[in-house]
Symmetry: C2
Subunit: 434 residues, 2 copies
């Protein structure tokens, strides 16, 4: 049984605060091991990567076989059934169409003294995408990371996808191909992140690394941050469903379970204005859990971290939702669109009863890499913006320098930075002579 | 004498690679001390902040005097001379005008099956800006951090600005007021960052922390990242000037020195297609260094990290510039505008001989908080975007779910995520019955 809270209860504030600060993840401290791996890859390059892959993934590689050959990729991709192939192609098409609209615009204009101002966006030159091996090897994540990079105009896009015991995921390789990625290295862990950040004889270093991974991968990304750019370091997944009583309790139940089945540390929360409906959903979850394939994961997640919160009205639901700042927010009420417009902090909103969160995981179009652990208060999901950067532009005319230069000089002197002032003054002196 | 390289020399590639990887900063390892300070502020709140301020800043505070009162701010601000007041107001006006154009647009559109897609931008609710004390307490940085936050619509914006030995900087307080900041705490160091991230009895926690600081502040920002958002962790400043022989060597010299005077670890590089001009600039730098107020800083910076690179032509200059990915890039050539349009990696470009970098530090309009240490390859300067975040939106219609739901279900099953598939299937079953 998950937590069942009622906002009218005297102790609600305390209970809700506990829910907000609940620690769901206990990452093992692998930082020392990771530091050693990174240093090893930096000094020994391919040799270190190959040894570590043998040790951790039980795969014997050579510099020539670090990446899949084109023929190997073709052979793996040929194994994908037609239905999955069509589904992945449709997903890629819709994700691309959504992200195409995210490309930011360059701007240029003239200031009041004829000076030219503006900025220009340019793509990151090379990006590396990490794709976990084993159970959490999701082709959908390949699309969600690679397509925004491709839309941004990243020239060189490579993937590291470990193949423990030599087992590759054909759908991951197909997703790579659909996203325009030709180079897939069959390496993983901190050694893959180190190779992407520092390069080896065979692997050319990239400028940005994105994609999910285990504790080793996360620690390695933190360590190479600054040398290269990284995306967020994501925590366990979360969903908040706001639903009134005019919903099918079973629909809400499977939506809650679709997060819970990811991870025992995942969190699923329902906020409703109807206590009886809340109880019906709890019952529906229990019923679904009896037969769910991943009940050994979804069950503990729901029992340990799940919650049903009964509120007075939907205004209160929105207040609580903003405090949670959920990664995924489903709003299934009659006025769902209006409520969604008032939400301030959420990674993604799924509006109306016909928009289960799983649509957003695969095929809706928006990105499924989203801010977890309340970080939607200050950050956004992955987008084209993660693969471009802005260069600001300024060009003064002599007239503009005459008009605004003296103020710059005054401030430079006030800050004790004489050379700053002189760089303006030297030019003003010439202009005043002319 | 700085390094003097020529791209035609046989050993140039090795020399240039050495220039690129030169380590200029040796940050003291203060991580353990900082971890202790953060834990102390988390557990003892105001009391810890007050004790640490007494220890490090020799300032005795109480919870009531942690922030400047309105009267205290008024009294300090009244000390600012009229000329500086006018200069700062002009800077604020121009910075605001530039950043006003950065506010991103919400988007919403209909997909092929009548489904609604889009995204919405919302401001970060509360932000804290760190302003160093002592010599590096720059009012211009207050404007550059606070104005983008204000433009973004951040509701609560506070400043932490330590006042060692009780000495406040009136111009910093005026800059705070011009940027709409009413609350300025006179605390600094890791204890200020901890207070902003976790809150104390008196200081309400914020969602995002920006602004420069010493090694303690940088280490604290790294540690609280995730709990709150942070801006970049900036390294020592850099400038690259690309200039042909039709420039006044003295202008280029003071521009190079305007970076060198920031910090002994700062780096100033000139790329020119004329060796004789390069030597003239070196002479002009030496001449200016004889009398420069901050020659004890600028001299070592120029001698230890400065460089002049002679290239065959400006095409080669651009290739090298992109490899450097400079924080500040000045282009002073006849076709400066065309060259600037071809630059791929730079934080900010200053175009033409009448745009010294110092204009950008104070009054041009673009932000002066820019990516250092080659990180312009993958990141941008501070902007309004740092204070907003995107929520993606999706609303399926029954028709849309019928059209694309089956593909989502196929992918969910292929990824072994049954509940994801069921959340779509439950709805499709109902729709198919109707």
């Amino acid at each position: 049984m998950p937590m069942f809270l009622n906002s009218s209860d005297a102790e609600f504030d305390t209970q809700f605060a506990r829910l907000l600060t609940m620690k769901r993840e206990d990452s093992p401290d692998v930082d020392a091991v990771v530091a050693g791996i990174i240093a090893d890859v930096q000094s020994r390059g391919d040799e270190a990567v190959i040894e570590l892959t043998s040790k951790y993934d039980r795969m014997e590689l050579t510099p020539e076989t670090l990446a899949f050959s084109r023929e190997e990729m073709d052979a793996e991709i040929a194994k994908v059934p037609a239905e999955e192939r069509a589904a992945l192609a449709l997903a890629a098409e819709r994700i691309r169409a959504y992200h195409d609209r995210q490309m930011p615009q360059d701007e240029a204009w003239d200031g009041p003294h004829g000076e030219r101002l503006g900025w220009r966006w340019t793509p990151v030159e090379a990006a590396g995408l990490y794709v976990p091996g084993g159970l959490a090897s999701y082709p959908s994540s390949v699309l969600m990371n690679a397509i925004p990079a491709q839309v941004a105009g990243v020239e060189r896009l490579v993937i590291c996808a470990p193949t423990p015991d030599g087992v590759a995921n054909p759908l991951v390789l197909l997703a790579a191909r659909l996203s325009g990625v030709e180079t897939v290295y069959r390496i993983g862990g901190a050694q893959a992140i180190a190779a992407l950040a520092y390069g080896t004889e065979t692997i050319t270093a990239v400028d940005k690394i994105t994609g999910p991974g285990n504790a080793f991968v996360a620690a390695a990304k933190r360590r190479v941050f600054g040398r290269v750019g990284i995306d967020m370091i994501a925590g366990p997944s979360e969903i908040l469903v706001i639903a009134d009583k005019d919903n099918d309790p079973d629909w809400v139940a499977v939506d809650l379970l679709s997060q819970a089945e990811h991870d025992e540390s995942a969190q699923s929360i329902l906020i409703t204005d109807d206590a009886a409906f809340g109880l019906e959903v709890v019952k529906a979850v229990e019923a679904r859990l009896e037969t769910l394939e991943r009940r050994a994961i979804a069950g503990p997640s729901w029992r340990d971290y799940g919650a049903v919160i009964v509120v007075r009205d939907m205004d209160e639901a929105l207040v609580l939702s903003d405090r949670i700042a959920p990664e995924h927010l489903e709003i299934a009420c009659e006025n769902a669109e209006d409520l969604a417009a008032r939400v301030r902090h959420a990674g993604a909103i799924f509006i109306g009863a016909y928009t289960p969160e799983a649509i957003g995981d695969y095929i809706g179009g928006p990105n499924h890499v989203l801010p977890t652990a309340r970080s939607a208060r200050f950050s956004s999901g992955l987008s084209v913006m993660d693969f471009v950067k802005r260069t600001t532009l300024a060009r003064m005319t002599p007239e503009a320098l005459k008009a605004i230069g003296p103020a710059a000089e005054t401030l430079a002197i006030a800050e004790g930075l004489e050379a700053h002032g002189l760089s303006v003054r030297a030019r003003l002196n010439r202009l005043n002579e002319e």
